[in-house]
């Protein structure tokens, strides 16, 4: 009978409230994840069945892209149907689907870029594409998790796959160093997170975000030290995953060591997933304790903005520069998170899409211009790019301006910053000082974003520079598609604004009407 119910998915009418205690409904609620999981396993077997080779690796990559696109179709189908969910371990809402769209987009781009990169670097590992899919499964679980245990499962699924991906270039000592550092610090941060979960469970008697939020609201538990320590540990754990200052030390080394497509994937999707989970936990479960965690988040945002952007000024390696720039962007997003209104999610999703396209585009340029002997990761390698590859130079300029938040030429980047500022200023507790700092930090960031643009257009190409390679098909497609999308939605942002705000509001969980059982120890 269950199988018949599973087969009848397509007939489910739109806008239904799913009962997550029923296995069939629960499976329906996680359909995109299941599609991705099943597809990844098939691709893993395909990858193993034939001997290694460049052609085989390409086949697996194309297959993996198809699997990610199928999952994207499933996500869009679910978003279009607009279901809600009863109490349960997983959320069924617009925030989850919109985040998933960004993750899957980043996945497709990362696999595409890996195709070019792996061929060039001689990395014969079709598994790397499958690992990207598996990491994405973890991300999608994180974005939907409404239970701390499910969240933990998602984080681990994502992290373990990404640890391996960072070390994929096993002949490079840098890559191995990055992988080991990421693994050790990742395990360390997971311990913080897990201890935080344990203490929150101890204080509230549940791991479900709605139940935790409801109990905190009903019992006004703001004075419980166990709960506050638990929240603090969760904050530290998340700050590590987000690479927010002062927990950001691992990021530049790992980003530099990892294969460039994986760096792009980490800077965009891994960060986005950690942010999505972070926002949901802190708004839905701990929204009632805003006064308690607000100050910590405020300092985290302020420190991260300035640390990221100031250190980025010093960098002459483009990968490291983009790593610090991504730390700076974490700070900007934390400004929105500090405001903690229901608009935050919309601003966050818009920012995420713009930032994902710009960052992955910039990394795609690095991949496109590098070769095995000349990785072209230093800023000097970009001197006079305009004279040799004008199209790529213009695209890189658009990405830099988008990350800076420049109007019109920066496309969506300008509106992304605008909506974050708006969310911070429209909040019940407006963040004036943070907003001013955000503008200041953005001005600082102009120092390195515009420097890259300047050297490309105004410096002469060095005489002894080796000729640039022919840009790979996939890199070219990614670069120009990203430019077109960034610029088009920069002129007409309405569809993206609607998409990012449609049913994505996150609210603190309300206590249910019925009397609550008093948790242990109170």
């Amino acid at each position: 009978m269950r199988l018949l119910a599973l087969a009848g998915f397509a007939q489910v009418e739109a806008g239904r409230t799913l009962d997550l205690s029923d296995p069939a409904s629960l499976s329906f609620a996680i359909m995109p994840e299941l599609v991705l999981c099943a597809g990844a396993m098939v691709m893993l077997l395909v990858a193993a069945w034939r001997p290694e080779g460049a052609a085989h690796s390409r086949r697996v990559a194309l297959g993996s892209m198809v699997v990610a696109l199928l999952s994207l179709v499933a996500v869009l189908f679910m978003q279009w149907q607009g279901h809600a969910a009863g109490p349960g371990p997983i959320a069924v809402d617009g925030f989850r689907w919109s985040s998933d769209v960004v993750f899957l987009l980043a996945t497709v781009i990362a696999i595409g870029l890996s195709m070019d990169y792996n061929t060039r670097e001689g990395i014969n590992a079709p598994e790397s594409h499958v690992l990207v899919l598996l990491a994405t499964v973890g991300m999608m679980v994180m974005a939907g998790a409404r239970d701390l245990m499910v969240l933990f499962l998602g984080i681990e699924t994502m992290s373990v796959a990404v640890y391996v991906l960072v070390g994929m270039n096993r002949r490079s000592a840098r890559s191995a160093e990055g992988a080991l550092k990421y693994f050790l610090l990742g395990a360390f941060s997971t311990a913080f997170l897990l201890y935080g979960i344990a203490l929150v469970f101890g204080a509230t008697g549940s791991t479900n975000l709605s139940v935790i939020g409801g109990r905190i609201g009903a019992l006004s538990m703001g004075d419980s030290p166990m709960l506050l320590v638990g929240i603090a540990l969760l904050l530290v754990g998340f700050a590590f995953k987000l690479a927010a200052a002062p927990f950001h030390m691992w990021a530049p080394d790992v980003y530099e060591g990892a294969p460039t497509p994986i760096t792009a994937y980490m800077a965009a999707a891994v960060k986005a997933a950690a942010f999505a989970a972070f926002l949901r936990v802190f708004i839905e479960a701990f929204g009632h304790l805003y006064e308690s965690w607000h100050a910590a988040m405020w300092w985290l945002a302020a420190l991260t903005m300035f640390a990221g952007n100031l250190i980025a000024l010093q960098q002459r390696n483009l990968k490291r520069m983009l790593a610090y720039s991504s730390i700076g962007h974490t700070g900007f997003l934390l400004v929105a998170a500090t405001a903690a209104t229901s608009q935050v999610a919309g601003a966050f999703l818009f920012y995420l899409l713009a930032y994902t396209l710009a960052t992955m585009g910039a990394f795609a340029v690095i991949i496109a211009l590098g070769t095995g002997e000349h990785p072209r990761e230093r800023v000097e390698d970009y001197h006079g790019l305009w004279t040799e590859k004008p199209g790529i130079a213009i695209a890189m300029a658009v990405f830099m301006l988008a990350m800076l938040g420049f109007p019109v030429f920066g496309g969506m980047g300008f509106f992304a910053k605008w909506y974050v500022l708006q969310a911070a200023l429209d909040a019940a507790a407006p963040q004036f000082r943070l907003a001013i700092m955000l503008v200041l930090a953005t001005t600082i960031s102009a120092g390195y974003y515009l420097y890259v643009v300047m050297v490309m257009f105004m410096k002469p190409r060095p005489e002894q520079a080796t000729p640039l390679p022919v840009v790979g098909v996939m890199s070219r497609a990614v670069i120009y598609a990203a430019v077109v999308v960034l610029l088009a939605f920069g002129v007409f942002p309405d569809p993206v604004v609607r998409w990012s705000r449609n049913g994505t509001e996150l609210r603190p969980a309300m206590p249910p009407a019925a009397a609550l059982p008093v948790p242990l120890g109170r």
Partner: protein
């Protein structure tokens, strides 16, 4: 309620004092008369051969990893086995067995999904040649 934790606190204190005390006492009372034989690392009575930091084949690492994977599988299967009846029943058990008509596929299906995932991993490992020693 707090008093119930007192024995644990006492045990903790005892362990700490004991551990520190043993090391401190042996340091205070010992007479240091080193000889070359005494300074060699203890190798169960056999004279040590060469350095301990030796390179060894990655194959051992592979076997250890595979062992952990298939070991963890059991950690999941034993609780599943213990709760199989409850998992395969849509209502509460009556006298240790499921009432007629309430038996569900869920318990078996859950393990089948797990086994299929594990099988995929196993096939991958096998095809990659990780199970061959040479």
């Amino acid at each position: 309620m707090d008093r119930t934790y007192l024995p644990i606190l006492l045990l903790l204190g005892f362990v700490l004092v004991n551990a520190i005390g043993m090391i401190a006492l042996s340091h205070l009372t010992m007479r240091l008369r080193p000889t070359p034989v005494k300074d060699t690392p203890y190798e169960s009575g056999i004279p040590p051969l060469g350095d301990a930091r030796e390179r060894f084949s990655v194959k051992f690492y592979m076997v250890a990893m595979l062992f952990i994977i298939f070991d963890i599988e059991t950690v999941f299967m034993i609780p599943w086995g213990a709760y199989y009846r409850e998992l395969s029943c849509t209502t509460a058990l009556v006298g240790g067995s499921c009432p007629a008509g309430a038996i569900s596929f869920f318990g078996l299906g859950e393990m089948m999904v797990f086994m299929i995932i594990l099988l995929v991993g196993f096939l991958y490992v096998w095809k990659k040649g990780a199970l061959q020693w040479d």
